[in-house]
């Protein structure tokens, strides 16, 4: 089935004399490249200007805190089970008395690690999470010199209170809450 009529049928017919001269074809080619000299460049000066990401962009993860600053994650392990790349590991611990301001649920993740070299940024962990705890953001995972540095622990993943990560856009339009 033909979808567009842009395709051209290739033929091996003899070239006409004009085509054999090549020069007209070369000149028109040069015209094309010359026109492009005055087109707007598509490059971005990267570190100063960053590209606008789409709202569904799946970049580096964040472990969310709730409004009072308590960690949402309850170490249920659903994300680790859902992860097709087996990138997530965690250790659960029970919340002690007096730690209610730190963790929202009675059980929390004492250790939570994502191996960024294994992760394929599919976003299944985000969908699996029943506690609204993990989200993929539009931040880029930076480069490192050592492979071991790519195993991100809670120190990197959990959002800082003074620097909260906004995920409302992702939540609103693309996440069933």
């Amino acid at each position: 089935m033909q979808l567009t009529n842009r395709s051209k049928v290739v033929s091996n017919k003899e070239m006409s004399f004009k085509e054999k001269l090549y020069i007209p074809a070369i000149l028109s080619g040069m015209g094309v490249t010359f026109k492009h000299m005055f087109k707007k460049s598509v490059s971005l000066r990267y570190p100063e200007v960053t590209r606008q990401f789409s709202p569904v962009y799946r970049g580096m993860h964040v472990l969310k805190r709730d409004a009072e600053g308590r960690e949402n994650c309850t170490a249920c392990g659903l994300c680790a089970v859902a992860c097709p790349a087996e990138a997530i590991t965690m250790d659960a611990a029970e919340r002690k008395k007096g730690e209610e301001h730190l963790y929202r649920e009675e059980k929390y993740a004492a250790k939570y690690e994502i191996n960024m070299l294994r992760c394929i940024f599919c976003g299944l962990c985000e969908e699996a999470c029943p506690k609204d705890a993990i989200y993929l953001t539009d931040r880029i995972v930076p480069t490192e010199y050592k492979r071991s540095n790519f195993i991100y622990g809670k120190d990197v993943l959990v959002e800082k209170m003074e620097d909260r990560i906004d995920i409302t856009k992702r939540k609103k339009e693309y996440h069933i809450d």
Binding site: I23, G29, M30, T33, M37
Partner: protein
């Protein structure tokens, strides 16, 4: 004595200009490529990236110098030297401008006004292939050798057609001296009746010869679409695969000098060299030294335009296949150039009466 000082100063200035042009041609090449591909190109080193050539040069010097231990060491070092020297030597016979005048004595803006200027250019250009061949052979690497063999066969094939297209020019001017050829293009009227002085350029009489010469110049400079000796996709790096550091730098640099010099030679042969409409008038009202510098500017502009043209073609046309290259050289350009010689001869006998 003053003549000697003048010539030495001229040589030094030409040397510096060639090197400067070559350095900025590398920058220009990247910028032109970028603009043609809707990119920005180097813009980090200095304003608009203008210091990029210096950064590149420093990088080249800092790189580790590797001489393969199976290579022929002497020849390995000699290769880039020959290529560079021949690239620089060609500019000696180009008349860069009208004569300067000091104390009523005229000094031509040309390092050596030898009466066989064109033959000298040819001789030196064909020596350049030794630089490639020796470098490629001494590397003891099959890719380098293949590149070198391609380079030499390509250059020899295209030199023929180039020479034949030149014969038509020589027939018209009756002289082998580049100085005479350029001076003649500044005299007389175009086609004998169009009254614009300084526009009696050979291109208007020799369009076919010009196209042949231009194509051959591309082949001689190993530029795309004839860059088979160094095509990355087939031969890693061609004849300079094994080279590193400044020896590689010399090869790359010499290529740009070659481009600049062939641009200047094309301008001299077909585009009136330093002549431009209005030169005659200027020389009556201005100081001859000033006119000389302006005329140099005219030739320089033309040469730079051709350098740009070389780049323009490079980012437009893909590389030829090797058999197509040989076919074009021997079966198309050579017969065409012979035809051009015949046409010129016929034209001369009819119109010179």
């Amino acid at each position: 004595m003053f003549l000697l000082i003048f010539k030495i100063a001229l040589i030094v200035i030409l040397f510096l200009i060639s090197l400067g042009v070559a350095a900025y041609a590398t920058y220009g090449e990247r910028k032109v490529a970028a603009f043609m591909q809707d990119r920005i190109g180097p813009d980090r080193a200095g304003p608009f990236g203008l210091l990029q050539p210096i950064a590149d040069g420093v990088k080249m010097f800092m790189k580790e110098e590797i001489i393969p231990n199976v290579s022929d060491k002497l020849l390995f070092i000699l290769g880039p030297c020959i290529f560079m020297i021949t690239a620089l030597m060609t500019s000696a016979v180009i008349p860069w401008g009208t004569a300067m005048e000091f104390d009523g004595v005229k000094y031509g803006l040309q390092v050596a006004d030898i009466n066989i200027g064109i033959l000298y250019v040819f001789g030196v250009v064909s020596l350049g292939v030794y630089g490639i061949m020796i470098g490629g052979w001494a590397s003891n690497n099959k890719f380098a050798l293949l590149g070198a063999v391609r380079a030499s066969s390509q250059m020899i094939s295209y030199e023929l057609a180039m020479g034949m297209s030149l014969i038509a020019i020589i027939m018209m001017s009756g002289s082998l001296s580049l100085n005479d050829i350029v001076a003649q293009q500044g005299q007389g009227k175009l086609y004998g009746f169009i009254p614009v002085s300084g526009l009696n350029w050979n291109i208007f009489y020799q369009p076919l010869g010009f196209i042949i010469f231009l194509i051959c110049a591309f082949a001689e400079c190993n530029r795309t679409p004839f860059d088979l000796p160094e095509c990355e996709t087939e031969l890693v790096g061609g004849y300079h695969t094994e080279y590193s550091s400044m020896k590689l730098g010399l090869y790359l640099f010499a290529e740009y000098i070659n481009m600049f010099v062939s641009g200047a030679i094309i301008s001299c042969l077909y585009f009136g060299g330093y002549n431009f409409p209005g030169l005659e008038y200027l020389s009556t009202v201005l100081n001859p030294n000033l006119v000389s510098i302006i005329s140099f500017g005219a030739l320089f502009t033309k040469a730079i335009f051709f350098v740009f043209f070389f780049m323009w073609i490079r980012w437009t046309i893909p590389r030829f296949r090797y058999d197509q290259l040989m076919k074009l050289g021997w079966q198309v350009l050579l017969p065409l150039s012979i035809l051009n010689v015949l046409l010129t001869g016929g034209g001369l006998t009819i119109f010179s009466k």
